[in-house]
């Protein structure tokens, strides 16, 4: 005997003590699926048969069952359940998680149960207990359906129990196996002509009957249409729409979920008392002109429609009024009601229409949810959801979304078929795809990255970043990326250098590398849009873009930022069409150093220079005089001389990175990587390609863009390596900061391991700014520096940064992009040697 249970069910075993429930459960279900009351009694009291512990045991059992149901797991409760009270609690639990409760009754003769109990030394309750169980069970069986069990299987006698076989059936909404591609079509509302036109636009060939009426349609490439419901009512030709849609569904070229209008039409067609509002009267009138067979077919069609579908492995959900994540793939009255009607806040707006609960704003699921129900002027993404009802019947348009391409296709309404109660305006205050929640960033987070798997951000790291992000960073809608920190090459072991190109080349094995001049300024991320309209449309924010530091702080005030962005925009001109985008994100260095780091320079670096140059010359002259007198201070004098030379070198080092700026005058950008544009990231483009783009910007506006010098090095060729070393030596001899050595190909894996995106090799004099003027005097001690933690951090931040770019370029919801960006900032609170 096959016992069917829906996938995602709470299975309640019902049977007297000794009826073999546990054996049955063991035979048919995995150990983790079965929650046995005996086991829980043992957990809470160390005695499986301690009836006094029952209340605590069931409390714990219900808690665990709730966790499993929340995760959508089939769960079996192994307890006698012969009384109505305990069963009612389980039915409630199933409903609370919108899964179906199923009863399996093991109805065995009393004698069998008694015999089995006698064989077990731990079961010493009397025969009267078993008799009571059997009596209760027999009384209950007939009312189980009424109690809320959606399926009831009764196994009578030992042979039925032995022969039973569990068959798990997918739910009707479970079409995860259907992978598309799909064309999801918004509310049609009887607009047959527009529907035919849209199907044509989408590439469907329409079948017509001898009267020329559309009776079906098919796509040559096998695409399938998915109707989000509300095919009927209000419009001029509800029967025509039904004829076409039913034909498509019957032939398998379309599927449809029920809208609230189909539901109401169905009740009207079945003769139920319904109010004739919202265009129902028109439908009934139109249907009255059709033959009864057609009306019958329409009735059956409406009756067959379910509330929502889960498609494409769970990546796509279609429901008429949308669906929050916890309802996906679930089955209950509540789920169907939400799918058909949505949820309202209980308030009404100025037109007397119910105010809808803006579930999409809080939506954090991975699946795309497509729906209709509430007409909007334009279909747009809110988190990963989109309303496709663009009010065709009200004179708007009929819209479809191609999935997985995510392309919108629309046809305009031929006329206003039905006067809207409320004008069709964008519900602006409700449209906040930007609202970020504390839960999106706080606590311990494990962020899945495509580049390096899971990256963990600890709770205290998130907490540390919250303040910086909230109080100092630019608006998160612009803050779409933060660059990773960069590790230095392994420490050079001999001579008078701490860092040397050879270690950097060796760091990438035999990979060809590109050496890039390191500009000493401040790391800058530049997001620039093609025109002022792009910000509001693409990033849901007014403005031209943003220029921010590696901790997300703005470089300039609003006015200067705008001026700078306008210059960048002008220089970028040729790239918009070439890259097919209307915004782009650049990784750059902003010069001079003092443009952003003025406080640091005057408070620390220049202060050291000033005090040293005030103190040391006086000391030298005092020592000189003493030496002239024959006082033996020669050693001290030469040490002090060397310190003055160091201090001068230190001053020269930072001076090279400073020049006067006035507003934006004197400010320069050295871009070195194009990070992302609409629909694309560029981590796999060789660095030479990136620098070629930077060169074009430099040519377009040499006053703003600084060119980055570069040299390709083949680490397997000794001459090439020598040339690389010489190049670095000549740059750093002039006081240059040094260079960054990057794998020429850009993003590289070595085996399964991600390779660092670059290693910096800093010049001898530049490092005075980092390690202090006299660091060259104690190199041996500094060589103990530990680079490992910094490299690990750089890799994790790199992976998170790539993830942010990927999410951004795919136009994923803001919270998804922000999660990765916030992760980079959070990791920055990790204590690593700041001099590395």
């Amino acid at each position: 005997m096959d016992l069917t249970i829906p996938d995602m069910a709470l299975v309640v075993l019902i049977g007297a003590s000794g009826s073999g429930k546990s054996t049955f459960a063991r035979k048919h279900f995995a150990g983790t699926q079965v929650l046995s009351s005996d086991f829980f009694r043992g957990l809470v009291s160390d005695d499986e048969n301690n009836q006094a512990a029952s209340a605590e045991a069931f409390d714990a059992l219900h808690y665990i069952a709730g966790k499993r149901l929340r995760a959508g797991l089939v769960t079996v409760v192994d307890a006698t359940n012969t009384q109505r009270g305990p069963r009612a609690e389980l039915v409630r639990l199933a409903k609370a998680h919108d899964v179906l409760p199923v009863a399996i009754v093991l109805d065995l003769p009393e004698q069998v149960c008694l015999r089995r109990n006698e064989a077990r030394p731990d079961r010493d309750f009397g025969a009267h207990v078993v008799k009571r169980h059997v009596d209760e069970l027999r009384r209950s069986v007939r009312s189980l359906n009424k109690e809320g069990f959606r399926r009831v299987h009764v196994l009578r006698g030992e042979s039925e129990v032995d022969e039973a076989r569990i068959v798990v059936e997918p739910l009707r909404n479970d079409l995860r196996g259907e992978t598309g591609p799909f064309d999801v079509i918004g509310d049609v509302h009887g607009c047959r002509a527009e529907l035919e036109e849209l199907l044509g636009e989408l590439g469907y060939a329409i079948d017509r009957d001898e009267q020329g009426r559309a009776v079906g349609a098919a796509h040559p490439a096998g695409r399938r249409a998915v109707f989000v419901g509300d095919l009927v009512d209000r419009g001029p030709d509800t029967p025509g729409v039904l004829r076409l849609a039913m034909g498509m569904v019957e032939s398998g070229s379309a599927m449809a979920v029920s809208g609230n209008h189909e539901n109401k039409l169905l009740r009207a067609l079945r003769g139920k008392q319904v109010t004739m509002r919202h265009g129902l009267a028109e439908s009934l009138e139109q249907l009255a002109a059709e033959p009864p067979e057609f009306v019958e077919r329409a009735t059956a069609f409406c009756d067959s429609l379910i509330g929502h579908y889960v498609l494409d492995g769970g990546a796509l959900v279609v429901a008429h009024a949308g669906l929050p994540e916890q309802f996906h793939g679930r089955a209950s009255g509540r789920v169907r009601s939400f799918a058909l009607y949505g949820e309202t806040t209980g308030e009404t707006d100025e037109y007397g229409l119910p105010v809808r609960y803006p579930w999409a704003q809080d939506y954090r699921g991975r699946a795309i949810v497509l729906y209709g129900h509430t007409p909007v002027p334009e279909a747009e993404w809110i988190n990963s959801t989109m309303c496709l009802d663009t009010g065709c019947v009200f004179g708007g348009k009929l819209t479809a979304l191609r999935y997985p391409e995510r392309e919108l296709v629309s046809v305009a309404a031929h006329k206003v078929w039905y006067e809207p109660v409320r004008p069709l305006v964008a519900p602006l205050p409700d449209r906040e795809p930007t609202a970020l929640a504390l839960d999106d960033v706080m606590g311990r987070r494990v962020i899945e990255t495509w580049a390096q798997g899971m990256v963990t951000v600890r709770g205290e790291q998130s907490a540390a970043a919250l303040e910086v992000m909230s109080r100092f960073a630019v608006d998160p809608r612009w803050l779409v990326y933060l660059p990773p920190t960069m590790a230095p090459a392994e420490t050079h072991r001999d001579g008078d250098l701490l860092e040397h190109p050879r270690e950097a080349f060796a760091g990438f094995g035999s990979l060809p590398v590109l050496c890039e001049e390191k500009h000493m300024g401040s790391r800058a991320v530049v997001l620039v849009t093609r025109s002022a309209s792009v910000g509001p449309r693409r990033f849901a924010i007014e403005g031209d873009g943003a220029v921010y530091t590696r901790t997300g702080r703005p470089f300039f005030d609003e006015e200067s930022t705008t001026t700078l962005l306008h210059r960048v925009r002008a220089a970028v001109e040729g790239l918009w069409d070439e890259l097919d985008t209307d915004w782009l994100l650049l990784d750059a260095e902003l010069l001079p150093w003092n443009a952003k780091a003025m406080k640091l320079i005057t408070g620390q670096f220049a202060a050291v220079g000033a005090s040293a140059h005030a103190a040391l010359p006086s000391a030298l002259s005092a020592l000189g005089s003493a030496l002239d007198r024959g006082v033996p201070v020669g050693d001290l004098l030469s040490r002090t001389e060397s310190r003055l030379a160091n201090a001068s070198a230190f001053r020269d080092a930072y001076r090279r990175y400073c020049w006067p700026t006035e507003g934006l005058d004197g400010v320069r950008l050295a871009p070195f990587q194009l990070l992302a544009t609409e629909g694309a990231t560029y981590h796999d483009k060789p660095h030479a390609w990136h620098l070629a783009i930077a060169d074009r910007l430099h040519q377009a506006d040499p006053g703003l863009f600084t060119r980055t010098k570069r040299l390709a090095v083949d680490p397997t060729d000794a001459d090439s390596v020598a040339a690389g070393v010489a190049w670095w030596e000549s740059m750093t001899a002039e006081g240059g900061e040094g260079m960054v050595v990057k794998p020429a190909a850009n993003f590289v894996r070595t085996g399964r391991k991600l390779t660092l995106p670059g290693l910096k090799v800093r010049g001898r004099d530049y490092l005075r700014v980092v390690y202090g003027p006299d660091y060259t005097d104690h190199l041996d001690r500094l060589r103990d520096r530990k680079i490992g933690p910094k490299r690990s951090l750089a890799l994790r931040e790199y992976a998170l940064g790539l993830e942010a770019l990927d999410r951004l370029s795919r136009a994923e919801p803001l919270w998804r992009v922000h999660e990765a960006v916030f992760g980079v900032l959070a990791l920055e609170s990790e204590p690593v040697d700041p001099r590395l």
Binding site: L436, L466, A607, G609, R643
Partner: protein, 459 residues
């Protein structure tokens, strides 16, 4: 005292802080006796912060100059300022490091003892002291204010931050030359006390024993110094208890407590907020941006507030609030909860309260982020009432504030600006709003602090 300093490599030392003391007393070379340091030798002393060298650039009958050159040990330096940077100006500038070196190397001279020339030690002699690099925190005339009353002629030459960048202005270092007739012991004590005072920083932890050191070094001359209170305060790292005991030891005076005539604005403001909450009958209250918990403490004291939640974006501020609340009895403590939250991220946990307070918070938010705050507070948390206070910028001249009352204020609003914002917020979120003054009210400029009480329309 004299040590060889073997075992510490010279390479490990940094910088060079210089002090020279010259005299033209006759014979000038007696300075060597006074300092207990032979003019023809180069001497090395180990001091807490590194190594001090004493040598004489000049030593003849007419003029004798002793130099103390301090080489700083970077490890001591790093320990003195945990988390400090590796690029530090301390090895080059006189401050507390130099003061400690003087106290160590010239201790006998500073005590006025001189076995060879006892009468000379008690005599004021012409002295010229030069410190080419002294750290100063404060106004240009600070050195004059400190050394002038002691009878020194003060020459204070500013040191440019970087001569190549004149626009950067002067550094906080000066070249200081003091000339005058003093007993050498007094001159050294002046330096010993005043160098850390000029810098307003000590490289070591200031404890109780510092009071005794100050009284010992300054007992004779600090008592009548017009800046003795200022000197004591800085010398004792602004620790009020120490300052009071030092001053009373010096001359029996006790500094006035803060004037009590005007209650601080912060107190008046907190009282006004509590009054507003009472007036609307709030019982469950949110303090958004509770900081160190000053308002929370006040709220707990009133049992009509049955549930109080303080939130702040700064984990550090919440730690401080936690410490403050830890002093409460359990029953009172249980009415307050603290939550790490942000005004730019929605937080469903904050929904459903009777009232929320934003006391001196909005002005710490960048103007472009105000809509996010509005959404978090009025759109999602949606308490029945919201109490907002913010400075009235028009009143600032009366507080002697030039621009802003706090360096972190992103803006300060006029009355009109605040009311425009508040009215618009109320309109957009279905609240009504009324305004009130807090603190002293000027007939033209309005109140010191402005307050708004928002109430949900259906409430």
């Amino acid at each position: 005292m004299q040590t060889g300093c073997q075992g510490v490599g010279w390479f490990a030392r940094l910088g060079g802080v210089l002090l020279t003391v010259s005299t033209s007393t006759c014979p000038a070379t007696d300075l060597g006796y006074l300092l207990f340091k032979h003019p023809d030798r180069a001497q090395v002393f180990s001091v807490a912060s590194g190594v001090a060298h004493v040598f004489y650039p000049r030593a003849d009958e007419a003029v004798c100059t002793a130099a103390l050159l301090l080489e700083v040990d970077p490890i001591t330096l790093a320990k003195s300022r945990p988390g400090s940077t590796y690029v530090d100006d301390r090895p080059y500038a006189s401050g507390s490091l130099m003061a400690v070196a003087i106290g160590t190397v010239f201790r006998t001279a500073m005590n006025g003892r001189c076995d060879a020339r006892p009468e000379l030690a008690q005599t004021a002699i012409p002295l010229s002291i030069h410190l080419p690099s002294v750290a100063i925190q404060g106004a240009d005339d600070l050195a004059e204010r400190l050394f002038g009353p002691l009878g020194w002629h003060v020459e204070c030459a500013p040191v440019a931050l970087d001569p190549e960048f004149p626009a950067w202005g002067n550094s906080r270092f000066v070249s200081l030359r003091l000339t005058g007739e003093h007993r050498l012991a007094d001159a050294l004590r002046h330096l010993y006390v005043m160098l850390p005072v000029l810098d307003d920083t000590k490289h070591y932890w200031v404890g109780e024993e510092e009071v005794a050191k100050l009284v010992r070094a300054g007992g004779e001359w600090l008592t009548t110094h017009p800046e003795r209170e200022f000197v004591s305060r800085r010398y004792l790292a602004h620790q009020r208890g120490y300052v009071r005991s030092a001053l009373s030891a010096l001359d029996g005076t006790i500094p006035d407590e803060e004037p009590r005539t005007n209650r601080p604005l912060a107190v008046v403001r907190a009282e006004a907020v509590v009054a507003a909450l009472r007036e609307v009958g709030a019982r469950r209250v949110l303090d958004l941006g509770c900081g160190g918990g000053a308002l929370l403490e006040r709220l707990v004291a009133d049992t009509s507030f049955t549930e109080i939640v303080g939130t702040d974006v700064s984990a550090g501020a919440l730690d401080a609030a936690e410490r403050r609340l830890a002093k409460l009895p359990d029953r009172a403590r249980s009415r307050v909860a603290l939550r790490h939250s942000s005004l730019t991220y929605t937080d469903p946990e904050l929904a459903g309260f009777d009232a929320a307070v934003l006391m001196e918070v909005v002005e710490h938010v960048d103007p472009p982020r105000l809509p996010a705050v509005e959404r978090v507070v009025f759109g999602v948390a949606k308490p029945t009432h919201v109490v907002v206070t913010t400075p009235n910028v028009e009143y600032n001249p009366l507080l002697g504030e030039q621009k802003s009352r706090h360096p972190d204020h992103r803006f300060e609003w006029t009355r009109a600006e605040f009311q425009d914002w508040a009215n618009a917020v109320a309109e957009r979120n279905d609240y009504t709003v009324r305004f009130g003054p807090v603190g002293p009210v000027d007939p033209d400029l309005g109140p010191a602090t402005q307050l708004a009480v928002f109430s949900k329309k259906e409430a």
